[in-house]
Symmetry: none
């Protein structure tokens, strides 16, 4: 039962406007167990519209269209749909009355072109629009030797489309299986390494299916289960969760949209504890990350962002300025001093430190750029290396997360790092 | 010369992730005069991928694909593309060496699956990826009786894709009439207000055409001129630049991708001057913004990021902690104190201060959330209000830029603000 979602409009094809309707509809179809295989965006071009509708009605059983139902010359959905179905357009009197009513109730004149909005491909059904002038269209196409295809054309205005989908389209699509999903997030392994650890769990077509995505070094595992009953789906998801926990252990830190800073802020808040930050190579990313989380301002008592060549002594209660070239030995030691200075300066229970960039030897005369991060509390300190992966856009968020993960592990009583 | 843009990935088809790559590519193609007729998103399904590539290579002359080039099992773009072209995959030794090098330089083990990333459809060309492991693919398909179709497959990671497109794909797409573009950036007016000031300059189909886009309160005016000779285009662009300068005056601060922080860092560096930051409502955004610009570490001597309820006195050499509710009078005064404290604490020529949130009365009993920003040097101080526009995602960057604009105006000897 694959579905296709079509967005009509030159403003989207040209990039002038971002299409968010297709994502919204995909999520809604997913919730009722209908997998979406294609999105298509097509410019306001009659032939291209006809071709896109024909293709969709061949390759998908459910086709949802948004846009192109307005009264202007470049709104071509109803004409193109009639052509794709090989039928003519006929006037629907109740729809015409509804449109006339809407204009009358708003005290606005109705233009002749609005009359076209009451025309429908022969054999289709109008989908009334209680909040706008453009009614939608529902039609079904019988296909030799295959299940029929169903198509709903809805307005492109999100508020009108959402209501029409919820009230009139979704009820026509139900009766299929239930789908449930869950997201588990981990930090520490790379994407390929995670896939190796998960093995057959990520096999395509598995039920539940597990997909891997990465965002700024956070790895998300998306579990999707289908079944007749919700409880069956939930049980399957629970089973996968247990397997993930076995294979990924304490690298798993959260669910849904959580990032390491959410966990750290929550765990600190629960203990009534606070943290201070002193950072260089992350350029403020670590402080900003903690400060913008809900509740972050209550636990992060201050962040000090320093350039690589800062003169530390006066700012940091006597921490000597770092040697000009940091290496594995001096880097870790400095990160610990910065974490301790952050604690002192902001009078907090925990301190996080991030040094400026240095480098470590890889053997064979090669080196890699590296910063060092550390966590300190009244009793312990732990430091870790954050090596450059070559992508500068990822370096700051990834290094910040390595520091946050040290603190998460300290708060939860886990081993300090993956390697220990 | 219609183009089609294809986004590959179940995470997009299912709605789990919003596709922004297709919009970005549409805008870039529009700038070089190539109209985009279709966007297609396809799930990670081999047969569906093959079909989508075949269809696109029939109906479009330029096909841009993002995603599906990674090393995991659900990355199918290279295999599906080979199938659609009717050829096999062959190993490209330089690409394999580049991938091996990248892993070696990061000191990380390379999985067997990464080797697949060095395989290419026979007859295609690799597009090297200087910032990630996945090289892209460029291929052309001869079509009987029609112009050949060209296809570029690029990584789905936006930063990698942007660079690959700019450096390797865009140059291959030119060869049409000469197109020259220029971007002029301004700060201070809203998007609608800018459009009013520009009047007929933004009319569609004008030559040169001027498009307005807004990104975190920076307004960019994109000038596109077409012509037979480059010198004609350049002359047209120069004419528009002069008109923009007349109508937008000193709100114009830069060109291309410049943001206010680029100008501030450059102007400070030219004077051998430095700046310190003390910020609250911007949550580290102001420090991060200055620190991550090329050369920023040499002029920003330190940033202090404080929560709304910080106890200022000890941290800021005696600045009293703010009253619990800031208003127009106390807000401006505090911003000035913070800017002065930043100067003292970091021993800099200039200081920037951003308060926590307060509110100002609008009349009729209504209020709006507001932060105050200020710049200080040894002689002068200037403060400004940064009102919430209702969009929390814009508040921190916009407020940071209001502060940076105060400093830019001070450095360049301009009036302190638009209103003065």
């Amino acid at each position: 039962m694959p579905a296709e979602i079509i967005a009509v409009g030159t403003e989207i094809a040209s990039g002038a406007k971002l299409d968010t309707n297709s994502q919204w509809l995909s999520l809604r179809l997913g919730e009722v167990g209908i997998p979406v295989r294609y999105h298509t965006t097509v410019a306001d071009d009659f032939d291209a519209n006809v071709e896109v509708f024909r293709t969709a009605l061949q390759r998908a059983e459910i086709v949802l269209v948004t846009g192109g139902l307005g009264p202007t010359q470049d709104d071509l959905t109803r004409q193109a749909l009639a052509q794709a179905l090989g039928v003519d357009l006929v006037l629907d009197d109740p729809s015409l009355h509804a449109i006339e009513e809407m204009f009358a109730s708003r005290g606005r004149p109705m233009s002749a072109s609005n009359r076209l909005q009451a025309m429908f491909p022969r054999g289709s059904s109008p989908l009334p629009n209680p909040v706008g002038t453009a009614p939608g269209i529902w039609c079904s196409l019988l296909r030799a030797g295959e299940a029929p295809a169903h198509l709903a054309a809805m307005p492109g205005v999100p508020s009108e489309m959402h209501r029409m989908f919820r009230e009139q389209v979704e009820p026509r699509l139900t009766g299929h299986s239930v789908i449930r999903r869950a997201v588990v997030n981990c930090f520490g392994f790379g994407e390929a390494q995670t896939e190796e650890l998960l093995g057959d769990l990520t096999r395509r077509g598995a039920d539940p299916e597990v997909g891997i995505t990465a965002h700024e070094a956070t790895i998300s595992l998306r579990i999707i289960a289908q079944g007749i009953r919700q409880t069956d789906c939930d049980a399957k998801i629970e089973g996968v969760r247990r397997l993930l926990a076995e294979r990924l252990g304490d690298t798993i830190f959260g669910v849904d949209d959580e990032e390491p800073e959410h966990v750290v802020v929550r765990e600190l808040a629960q203990r009534g504890a606070t943290v201070g930050v002193c950072e260089s190579a992350t350029r403020g990313n670590l402080s900003e990350r903690l400060m913008r989380v809900e509740g972050g301002e209550r636990v992060l008592r201050g962040g000090l962002v320093l350039p690589a060549d800062a003169v530390f002594s006066a700012l940091l209660d006597g921490v000597p300025s770092p040697p000009s070239a940091l290496n594995a030995a001096t880097g870790s030691a400095l990160a610990v001093q910065l974490a301790q200075a952050a604690r002192r300066r902001f009078h907090t229970a925990y301190g996080l430190g991030v040094t400026s960039l240095g480098e470590v030897a890889l053997g064979g005369g090669r080196t890699v750029a590296c910063a060092w991060v550390a966590v300190a509390d009244g009793e312990h300190t732990h430091a870790a290396e954050a090596r450059s992966t070559g992508n500068p856009a990822i370096f700051a968020p990834r290094t910040s997360k390595i520091a946050l993960d040290l603190l998460r592990r300290r708060l939860l009583g886990l081993r300090p790092s993956l390697d220990s």
